[in-house]
């Protein structure tokens, strides 16, 4: 069983270009479908969220990591394992807030935006905003409510691409009916 599944796991690796171009086509279609960049950003975030809540199960099943005990550990797992597994990059974790409830991920070369160029008049478009939704959805499934947003995006002329994560609160397990 184990041998079979490793073979299959390898077969399932697809070229990053296929994924990146598909994502590009998705964004292009959304830009056509919606009036404003804000609305496109919102749709991308929503789609990302729906992906994230499923992706987290795949991640946990493949990496076998346990529960994180603090936000710093979470940051490490996201950057070193999560991004590595699904995008093949390891963003740098930096800019911790004093209370350790906020940090930034710096993506030196964002693979999602490899072939992208923002057209005139779409300065507000967050091309890779789907990533924010994925992170938010995945963390919500492990009982962490977080805010995720792009601070800088090299596509919009910034020096770096920076995603900021802010820990809001820990979500509690549901009580069984009739017990409190």
């Amino acid at each position: 069983m184990s041998r079979q599944s490793t073979v299959r796991a390898d077969n399932r690796k697809v070229s990053a270009e296929l994924f990146v171009l598909t994502h590009g086509a998705l964004v292009a279609q959304l830009v056509k479908d919606y009036e404003s960049d804000e609305e496109v950003n919102k749709q991308l975030d929503k789609m990302g969220y729906n992906i994230g809540v499923r992706l987290v199960e795949d991640f946990l099943a493949r990496s076998n990591v346990g529960r994180c005990h603090d936000f710093r550990e979470t940051a490490d797992v996201i950057a070193k394992l999560g991004f590595k597994m699904f995008l093949g990059i390891s963003p740098v974790v930096t800019n911790w807030s004093a209370a350790s409830d906020e940090f930034s991920l710096i993506l030196d070369n964002n693979p999602m935006a490899e072939f992208a160029e923002l057209p005139e008049g779409h300065e507000g478009l967050l091309f890779s905003n789907i990533l924010c939704g994925v992170l938010r959805g995945a963390l919500e499934m492990v009982q962490m409510e977080v805010d995720v947003w792009f601070v800088h995006d090299s596509l919009r002329g910034d020096e770096t691409t920076e995603i900021r994560l802010k820990f809001i609160k820990k979500l509690e397990d549901a009580l069984p009916a009739g017990e409190d």
């Binding site: 069983m1 795949d58 346990g66 009982q143 009916a177």
Partner: protein, 141 residues
Amino acid sequence: MTIYNIYIFDRNGTCLYYESWNRKKESNMSKEEEFKLMYGMLYSIKSFVARMSPSESKDGFLNYRTSKYKLHFYETPTGLKFILNTDLNAGSIKDVLFNIYSKIYVEYVVKNPLCQLNEPIQSELFTSKLDSYIRSLTIFN
């Protein structure tokens, strides 16, 4: 040796899946009642174990045994709970429960966009894969 039955609960206490193989005695209550009772007990045992433990434990509750059967428990960080009841000869079957999660639940439920994640599992593919996996185990018979 034998395996009696399996329960899969989501983090809200919904029973996603139930299947029995060699269960000779049924509880005299409806399945819904039984699931609620089971989930309530697991919830209580989890908090009991966490509170009574004299030191920080990583795993928490793993299993319990009575004179007749043994209940094995595995919880993922996302709060999914896998419960397998076997006879007393089964050792630690943590890897079996993990395989059910990673090789069957993730593959045939999570990766199937038509399967809702917090509703009872309807997929026949999942049912048949799980059934053949359980029957292939050396502890099954």
